[in-house]
Subunit: 233 residues, 2 copies
């Protein structure tokens, strides 16, 4: 009787690979819309300013999707990536801080539904906005109702759009609410735990990183044009 598997051979894919898969997916959707049937790693890479080998390696983490001498079937590859990222299943999302500008903007953003994310609950701490109706989503609930709603509705992802100062107050109720993932826009670095994966998106940090590049150029490091830190994402 053997111990377990014969040896998984492949290491876990890096997070950067996962991000790129999402970008590939979007591009593939566009190609499919244009009627393109097949794409090579070379062409994919060129459009996205990546190395073709990187594209192939990213995909090879998950199987052999391509055909030598031909390339990748746009539709098949798209379907594979959808499965890899777990996007066949609709994911329920709630927004915390839905009374604020950013929260409202995201609550009303229709782009998520196209990708199978459904905003289906809104929360806030401020009594002044609790009860307000948001078109097509529902009324804003008190944050106190979060744990119950998460369980009843099956919410998996929380989007946090609250001020930094408010985090401490809601931190525990959020982490213990039963959600498995958080997308945090508050300018305060939340840490992942065993139970809850957190991704922080810090708009100020993004601007400051750009400011750094600006001041590099100002300070006359002229031929920085090479090794320029390039774009992220």
């Amino acid at each position: 009787m053997k111990k377990t598997e014969p040896a998984p051979k492949k290491p876990l894919p890096p997070q950067a690979t996962i991000r790129r898969l999402s970008v590939y997916l979007r591009y593939l959707n566009g190609l499919d819309g244009d009627g393109v049937k097949v794409i090579s790693s070379h062409d994919l890479a060129r459009r996205l300013a990546l190395n073709p080998a990187q594209v192939r390696k990213d995909l090879a983490y998950f199987g052999e999707f391509g055909k030598r001498g031909v390339g990748y079937s746009v539709k098949k590859l798209r379907d594979h990536i959808v499965k890899i990222l777990g996007l066949q299943k609709m994911r329920k999302v709630a927004i915390i801080g839905a009374g604020g500008r950013l929260g409202t903007a995201l609550a009303l953003y229709t782009g998520f539904e196209k990708r199978n994310f459904k905003v289906c609950a809104l929360f806030d701490k401020d009594p002044a906005v609790i009860g307000n109706e948001v078109d097509g989503v529902g009324r804003i609930l008190s944050i106190e109702e979060l744990p119950r709603t998460v369980k009843e509705t099956g919410i998996e992802i929380l989007v946090l759009t609250i001020p930094a100062a408010a985090i401490k107050e809601v931190h525990d109720i959020i982490m213990l609410s039963g959600v498995r993932a958080i997308l945090n826009f508050a300018p305060y670095k939340m840490l992942s735990t065993e139970d809850v994966a957190v991704h922080n998106v810090d708009l100020t940090t993004e601007l400051e990183a750009l400011s750094y590049l600006l001041s590099l150029r100002e300070s006359g490091l002229t031929s920085l044009e090479n090794n320029l830190p390039a774009d992220n994402e």
Copy 2:
């Protein structure tokens, strides 16, 4: 006569370092507000779930700011990071797609000004919103006015909050407008050039990366709790 410098010894700091500097800066501001005078790399690292050596190395790219046996002066370190990131100088920002939800939310977000970014012009392509007044910022201008306004006002950074489909139309006018940096929220990967640094922030990609983690756990890779891809940023 020597060729140039005696040899810069230090390599360029990675982008990840720059991002972390921004995070350090925010935390240092908080500490300063709380009256904390000195912080060690160890304490800083603990709060931000980093390695102390990484904190020290990040800072060491730019000089020797600490005191052995003591730590870093909160105020001094804060001031150094401000200089490194070029934040002593106010940076003028314009928003393209200011008629949309996200654009409006960002235009009205007051958090940027605290960090010395000033939103001072708004643009859109849609005649239905051009001319609309946005409190405290001004009227929405036609995108046609972008190049002139950039030059006259000294705008350095553009924030793009337009639909993906609209990018192709405005791509050239933006890249040639004279700005040096772009923060792109549109779900379309824009590429950096020699003249214009682009950072892409893709909200859908963030959600999809979280979805991947969710489906990993669903598929029963139980003891993933170790090597969990953790948080980004």
